[in-house]
């Protein structure tokens, strides 16, 4: 599937414009990713849209947004629509438009129609050509994703997974939030794994691969369910590729890990932070965060070099 096909599994944006992006940034809701020489890299951008570090030329760039939880209305963030909108404004303030945006799940808090309406409206304000979505468990609540897929899963295959090629890179959108079993973690399931194997078979090992999924595809913290029980099988299909980047959400904080040529990354939420694994009894919203710190923790306002340096260092390590 290529980007120009009409069945491309993305939601078309109202005002398409296409430009190359020179840098990548933490853009409120998440990260601006630049594909450069087959490897994804991140770079900071300040709130006014100027570039605080030397511009990096890339082949293309896209922004990752995650865990917007439209409908959540408690401490520490009573207005998650406003913070998503701030994130959108930061993406739109980029000096060059991102080629597309990906949202890695939990658009809504309770999968209610009005929550999907609000999410679609705010995401529709993004100044980018297309937005790709993968669902979070909150988006498929109660109806196994029927509403979600009818609105955000157009053109997908199977139970909603998809892949596409963009400027030499191969993107895969996976679903690991359906068919949960008691006591278990996220799950991809046999049908999806078989599809993934076929989808990747025959592709050159030099093809950069980017995998999108809501729950982490490695076990961050099993006690809190932060992992996917059959992700190891997926990795057996991915491992032969020279550059694999896995982008997840779900845990509302930045975590990174590298295994061989596979770099895993989880994004912040646009809604609220969750404390680090095991530091509190349960993985709920961190209600103790005071208002003036919230934006730093959901990544909407403050861009830190520390974070970006870390991302770059680890990503570079994969190349070595």
């Amino acid at each position: 599937m290529t980007l120009d096909r009409p069945d491309f599994p993305a939601v078309e944006q109202p005002t398409p414009r296409r430009k190359f992006l020179k840098c990548m940034t933490w853009a409120g809701t998440g990260v601006l990713w630049v594909m450069q020489g087959g490897v994804l890299r991140a770079q900071a951008l300040d709130a006014r849209g100027t570039d605080p570090v030397p511009a990096r030329r890339g082949d293309f760039s896209f922004v990752q947004v995650s865990d917007s939880h439209i409908g959540f209305h408690q401490a520490p963030n009573p207005d998650v629509t406003a913070t998503l909108r701030e994130a959108v404004a930061k993406v739109n303030a980029l000096p060059a438009r991102a080629d597309f945006v990906v949202h890695t799940g939990d658009l809504t808090h309770l999968a209610k129609p009005d929550q999907f309406d609000t999410a679609a409206q705010v995401m529709g304000e993004l100044a980018t050509d297309r937005v790709f979505y993968v669902p979070g468990e909150h988006d498929v609540l109660g109806d196994d994703g029927k509403q979600y897929f009818s609105r955000f899963g157009r053109g997908a295959t199977g139970q909603g997974w998809y892949s596409f090629d963009y400027r030499g890179a191969h993107f895969v959108g996976l679903i690991n939030v359906l068919n949960f079993k008691p006591g278990g973690l996220g799950v991809l399931g046999r049908e999806q794994l078989e599809w993934l194997e076929k989808d990747l078979r025959g592709r050159s090992s030099s093809t950069p691969i980017v995998v999108l999924a809501h729950m982490p595809l490695w076990t961050v913290y099993e006690q809190w369910g932060w992992g996917t029980e059959d992700s190891a099988q997926a990795l057996t299909y991915l491992r032969r590729f020279g550059s694999v980047t896995v982008l997840n959400g779900h845990i509302h904080q930045i975590q990174q890990k590298v295994e061989g040529n596979v770099a895993f990354y989880t994004a912040r939420s646009t809604a609220y932070p969750i404390p680090a694994a095991g530091t509190v009894p349960a993985p709920g919203p961190d209600a103790s965060v005071v208002a003036d710190r919230l934006h730093g923790l959901i990544g909407v306002r403050d861009v830190t070099y520390r974070t970006v340096d870390s991302a770059l260092a680890i990503t570079d390590a994969t190349l070595a």
């Binding site: 609540l141 008691p182 993985p283």
Partner: protein, 133 residues
């Protein structure tokens, strides 16, 4: 695993809930504070007939509940994160998504063991054992 270090408020026990409901009913207050006050008050002589399960800190408390057939069990979500009460094998009707302070009740009519979990956080599991009345 130590996910239930923080207990639900001590005052929130089935016995106290029953007492409040009974007092409210006796004083002819509207049933607003305890949404099923009349039913609860009517069965106040048998405290075990309307047990509560509190959902707190991503756990069902108590995780194992033993009741007699015909008992209505009520779950209340005290977390700021939504949860569900989802029957593992579809042997009883599952709840919708429960937002903060939402309640869900189900009357277990037949004896048996009913396992359930949260469909959003599957590591959360619970069990209701129903004995003959």
């Amino acid at each position: 695993m130590t996910r239930s270090m923080q207990h639900s408020p001590r005052w929130f026990t089935p016995h106290l809930a029953l007492l409040c409901a009974a007092v409210a009913a006796a004083a002819a207050f509207p049933a607003g504070a305890a949404d099923r006050a009349p039913a609860v008050a009517a069965s106040a002589a048998q405290p075990a007939t309307s047990p509560e399960v509190t959902i707190s800190n991503f756990s069902f408390q108590p995780a194992l509940l033993t009741v007699k057939a015909g008992t209505r069990v009520t779950w209340t979500n005290r977390d700021t994160t939504p949860h569900t009460v989802t029957s593992t094998d579809k042997r009883f009707e599952s709840s919708a998504g429960l937002d903060t302070n939402d309640r869900y009740s189900y009357v277990f009519g037949k004896a048996g063991t009913y396992e359930y979990f949260c469909s959003l956080h599957p590591m959360m599991v619970g069990k209701v054992v129903v004995s003959e009345p």
